[in-house]
Amino acid sequence: MDTFLQQLINGIVLGSIYSLVALGYTLVYGIMGLINFAHGDIVMVGAMVTLTVTRLLANSGLPGPLILGIGVLTAIPACMAVGYLVERIAYRPLRNAPRLAPLITAIGVSILLQNLAMMLWGREYLSFPQILPAQTMAVGGASISTIQLVIVASSCIMMAGLSWLIRKTRLGNAMRATAQNPEVATLMGVNVNTIISITFVLGSALAATAGMMVSAYYGIAHYDMGFILGLKAFTAAVLGGIGNIEGAMLGGLLLGVIESMGAGYLGTLTGGIMGSNYQDVFAFFVLILVLVFRPSGLLGERVGERP
């Protein structure tokens, strides 16, 4: 089997999940300069809701892809509601507070969501029912599974849709205007509160989809799965240049591939001293490198752009 090609494929799959989550960080940061550390936990909520629905329907005789579709279509509105409420209740009252206050609040919200999830779904690892056919396709010397194809295809569609929304529509114009100068945007009739709510809701919809992907891909979900995933997606957003939409997509893909390659070759390179369980190290190693050498990220704009 061709390790390089296989790890590349795995990396792209992982990376497209990171990209979706990273977009949520970057959207919110772009509009209001807040790092929403609770975003990873919204992904967890998405995973849990998808998993719950899928388990309920697993023996209903419906085809697997349809069940998964119903699952994610339940998870998306659920996550949108959570995202909306989090902004409304936790962040909006702190809109004009010093920057540290909402940041700490975000960590608090993250802990709150994890604990609520633990109460609802318990502390065990929940397994995802096997509803998709475990088919694989051979490509070169590597293989791609159905779920991998679904993940890459659906995240491409969502990212293209988001780009279009931001670049080409009235709403996207208003969002970009708000990001650059909220005060002037309001003078154009833009309601900044509405735009911020929409931003959170959009980010949460992407997170819900990512949650479906993670839980279906790895076959498990857990109440604190959002923490590490969120940190890595945040790393991806920083790598691409936080606040930059294309940056989040690129950063996610790159991070996925870097991690995957690392996991694939680390064992061989270190003669077995470090195995693929060191995978996570790569994400944070990348974060440190970026922060040291290019804090504005690959596609980031000059620092000092924000007033």
């Binding site: 929304l165 009235r170 205007a177 650059q180 003078l187 009739g189 833009v190 309601n191 929409i198 809701v201």
Partner: protein
């Protein structure tokens, strides 16, 4: 009923910042279709009045009415919907967006397509998006920036940036267009063409409120003007009357 000749009526507006009265008891009224100027030395409260009129500041006292509707205390986005638009002394464009996109944002308060319409691509939303870009194109033509439509706003020349601010404000379909030092930093040629743009705008039925330091421009273009000094109105009237008012000469013009 005949339309009231008064478009904007300002009564006894006061605004204090930490004990300093930026505006005290300012009253004035602006008629439909006129060009009304606001002059006064630096720190006289002109921009503060603009900020009150566009909802950025809430006045501490007094009120103002646009077409008889009480406006004081409304939010900026509501002011825009009611028909007050402005430009800024220090240009504030969405500098990383293209020229035409800046104007398109200005259409926001006259359109309503939301998330769902955009995602589902409903025919109404698509028609609206089309009308937004057509109107924006038309406005760029109107101010003479059509050839730069797809440039980033920050790459425009200074004079063109001022024109773009005007186009963006016009996109909100204002009844009253408030311009904060539109000629600041312009060369005489640019000032001349600005003057004719302002006259065109007035001819098209939009009332103009102007803060300006270029006395020659003000005196040559406005129908009436008010003079502010230390937050108080010290004179109001036609240019010829105000120009000969001794209080004004002392406070502002500095010539005898």
């Amino acid at each position: 009923m005949m339309q009231d000749a008064k478009l904007l009526e300002v009564q006894n507006i006061g605004k204090t910042f930490g004990g300093l009265a930026a505006l005290s008891g300012v009253s004035l009224s602006i008629n439909r279709g006129e060009i009304y100027a606001l002059i006064g030395p630096n720190g006289a409260g002109k921009t503060t009045l603009f900020n009150v009129l566009t909802g950025i500041y809430k006045p501490d006292s007094g009120n103002f009415r646009l077409e008889g509707v009480e406006m004081a205390g409304k939010k900026p986005s509501e002011m825009a919907k009611s028909g007050i638009a402005r430009t800024f002394q220090n240009i504030r464009l969405f500098s990383n967006m293209s020229v035409i996109e800046n104007v398109m944002v200005g259409r926001h308060c006259r359109t309503r397509g939301g998330v769902l319409g955009a995602i589902l691509g409903s025919s109404r939303t698509r028609a609206e998006e089309k009308s937004i870009s057509e109107k924006a194109r038309h406005l760029l033509d109107y101010v003479g920036l059509a050839r730069h439509a797809h440039m980033l706003a920050r790459n425009l020349s200074y004079g063109d940036q001022r024109r773009l601010e005007i186009a963006r404000a016009l996109a909100t379909e204002p009844k009253l267009l408030a311009l904060d030092e539109p000629a600041a930093g312009m060369n005489p040629l640019e000032t001349d063409s600005l003057k004719s743009l302002l006259e065109t705008i007035r001819r098209d039925g939009i009332t103009l409120l102007l803060i300006e330091h270029d006395v020659k421009l003000v005196m040559g273009i406005c129908d009436r003007l008010a003079v502010l000094n230390f937050g108080k109105k010290i004179a109001e009237g036609e240019p010829s009357q105000v120009g000969s008012n001794p209080l004004v000469i002392e406070a502002y013009l500095g010539v005898s």
